[in-house]
């Protein structure tokens, strides 16, 4: 019986590996998720700030959004978690270096001790990736502030999905605040990859391998929810939507200008707002459904929109045909 269940789960994983068009990341939810609605009735602030290009005053834009959200980081240990899962010079997979550099300046200026950490999903040489993405050349003393989360020393966390003990990098566990510096992208197995999905890069490759295949077998949506459940309470989302990715994301899509930075402490609310900007109905994105009222707020009426109104910045991202049903009316 156990073997049969493993085999069935394996189909989902193998399908994800092979690009099975019908696979949408599994439907497993956290066992507690359906019985508790701890956030029912709560509202969450989300700031949308316009930024037309990476050469603008991004630090100023970020500062406005952070202040709108009431974030206080003075004296805190902050880990910036950008997305550089992979590199392709012909598209825009990664959180742009200008956004990472500006965030480093902003959080330092707010009195935080700041590190940058990422565990790329596909490539082994993280520092070479940082070179390709220009992080290493354009962020002063990058090697001194950067932590390769794939190869850092780890400590156990109990109760991650059905795995019992799961290991995470010490910098992640020690941080008072993790800033999910995500890229606004479509995702061919999850619908969209934003601040919550970005936390796949917190899982150490030294134990779980590349491309963090363990999370695919747990279930992509379930893993997103579990990572958000564990790290969401000490998180702040800052999504790079200046130029996002549409179509066959998160690697092989095409650049799409949205001209915004989206911020907030409620990762689900930020991701739901990003979805609306992208012309995606967040209520149809499985992991956001699972997060609603359990890990965050996704209803538009309960998100306190600060800065730009969504209608003013909405620009529909192209969706692959398998996700056409996600289109926001």
């Amino acid at each position: 019986m156990t073997n049969n269940r493993r085999e069935i789960l394996a189909i989902a994983g193998a399908a994800s590996l092979a690009g099975f068009a019908g696979f949408r990341g599994g439907s497993q939810m956290h066992p507690d998720a359906k019985s508790k609605l701890p956030l029912a009735g709560q509202t969450s602030p989300v700031a949308v700030v316009k930024a037309a290009s990476y050469s603008e005053d991004l630090a100023g834009a970020m500062m406005r959004g952070i202040l709108e959200c009431g974030l206080d980081v003075a004296g805190k240990r902050v880990l910036l978690k950008p997305n550089f899962v992979e590199f392709d010079p012909n598209t825009c997979i990664n959180t742009d270096v200008a956004v990472v550099a500006a965030a480093l300046d902003v959080f330092r200026s707010l009195g935080a001790t700041v590190k940058i950490g990422e565990g790329p999903g596909h490539r082994r040489d993280t520092f070479a990736m940082a070179e390709l993405t220009r992080y290493r050349s354009e962020i002063a003393q990058f090697d001194d502030v950067f932590v390769d989360l794939n190869r850092e020393d780890v400590s156990p966390v109990q109760g991650f999905a059905d795995r019992g003990t799961f290991y995470f990098p010490n910098s992640v566990l020690a941080a008072d605040l993790i800033v999910s510096l995500a890229k606004m992208k479509t995702h061919h197995w999850a619908g969209a990859t934003l601040s919550m999905k970005n936390y796949f890069g917190l899982v150490p490759g030294s134990i779980y391998g590349w491309p963090k295949n363990e999370l695919h077998y747990i279930g992509i949506n379930k893993s997103i929810l579990e990572l958000t459940r564990i790290f969401g309470p000490k998180s702040f989302a800052l999504v790079d939507g200046i130029v996002g990715m549409e179509g066959n994301g998160p690697i092989q899509g095409t650049p799409k200008k949205a001209g915004v930075l989206v911020m907030g402490s409620d990762l689900a609310a930020v991701d739901a707002t990003c979805c609306r900007i992208m012309g995606i109905d967040p209520a149809r994105v499985e992991y956001l459904q699972g997060a609603a009222d359990r890990l965050g707020v996704i209803e538009e009426s309960r998100i306190e929109q600060r800065g730009e109104a969504i209608a003013g910045v909405r620009t529909n991202f192209q969706l692959i045909k398998e996700y056409s049903q996600l289109r926001l009316a």
Partner: protein
């Protein structure tokens, strides 16, 4: 185990010296100096320093990390079977230690497979119910049990099993080697190299990466049908910013007897890359991964 070469050059000595200086008191190495010991950097450093007392201390530590089922865990505190079992088996054979610990690790490797190759998945694929971009009936090796097979762990398992075939031959071992080589060839990217696991996603070709292309070549020693991959590797070694990729590409070409330029520069801070660069040096111990052809291992017709 080979002794130290009398004239190994400044490049190699600089790396071996750095490794000796950065060895932890428990005998292992962290991924970076001053960090806790992990199997992967310790194993590569032990291979690079083979014959040196530092390698003996490393092996003492690694030996203490073997689990009862024959596999190895990745660090002192993480009790999860790990692909690095292959590296430890290779070290054991390089040291001439063919006893029960090696046999149990080889048995574990022979029985280890990517979960996608389970019978139900293969049946579903054969019935055409799931679109596959690789032949999942060809068994490969995962990073850890319960995951899919990928290029890098498959490469290291093939190296270990081909070396093991010299004295621990069995039909099962030969079949896994034959199938593992076939699997690597099946997942080759259209450009002639290798991505990290699959040649395509959602019907779109994936490009090869230099490090995984190099690793696949290490596993496919002795084959005569890899010319396009060498052309690609020669180009990649000049273009990649990754010292990890350059080290593996150099090791791969040396193992295939392909002429390649020597690596230059100062040792990096990264322990694993330091060890791989030492292995890649002209007088380095890359030959400890020399398996001969698959046919010599009794595996490829």
């Amino acid at each position: 185990m080979p002794g130290l070469s009398p004239d190994r050059g400044v490049y190699l000595e600089a790396r071996l010296g750095a490794l000796r200086r950065n060895q932890n008191s428990d005998g292992g190495w962290g991924y970076f100096p001053g960090k806790a010991s992990w199997l992967e950097p310790t194993a590569y450093a032990a291979l690079a320093l083979a014959g040196d007392p530092a390698a003996d201390r490393a092996w003492t530590l690694l030996s203490s990390w073997q689990l009862p089922d024959g596999s190895w865990k990745p660090s002192a505190d993480v009790n999860i079977s790990n692909w690095g079992t292959s590296l430890c088996a290779t070290i054991a054979m390089a040291r001439g230690e063919w006893g029960p610990p090696l046999k149990s690790s080889v048995n574990w490797l022979v029985g280890s497979t990517g979960i996608e190759s389970g019978w139900l998945n293969v049946l579903v694929a054969r019935l055409g119910l799931v679109k596959q971009e690789r032949d999942i009936s060809l068994k490969s090796w995962p990073w850890k049990p319960g995951n899919s097979g990928w290029v890098e762990p498959t490469v290291h398992a093939l190296v270990a099993l081909k070396l093991a075939a010299a004295r621990l031959s069995s039909p099962e071992l030969h079949e896994r080697v034959r199938m593992g080589e076939a699997q690597l060839l099946d997942v080759r990217s259209r450009d002639g190299g290798w991505n990290y696991g699959s040649p395509a996603a959602l019907g779109v070709d994936l490009p090869s990466f230099p490090e995984t292309t190099a690793l696949a070549l290490v596993a496919l020693q002795g084959r005569s049908d890899l010319g396009k991959a060498f052309d690609l590797a020669q180009r990649q070694i000049g273009e990649t910013p990754s010292p990890l990729a350059r080290a593996w590409l150099t090791i791969a070409m040396r193992l295939h007897g392909v002429k390649t330029a020597d690596l230059t520069g100062d040792p990096p801070l990264d322990t694993m890359i330091t060890a791989l660069e030492a292995l890649a040096a002209p007088q380095g111990n890359y030959k400890l991964m020399q398996t001969g052809t698959g046919a010599q291992a009794g595996a490829v017709a």
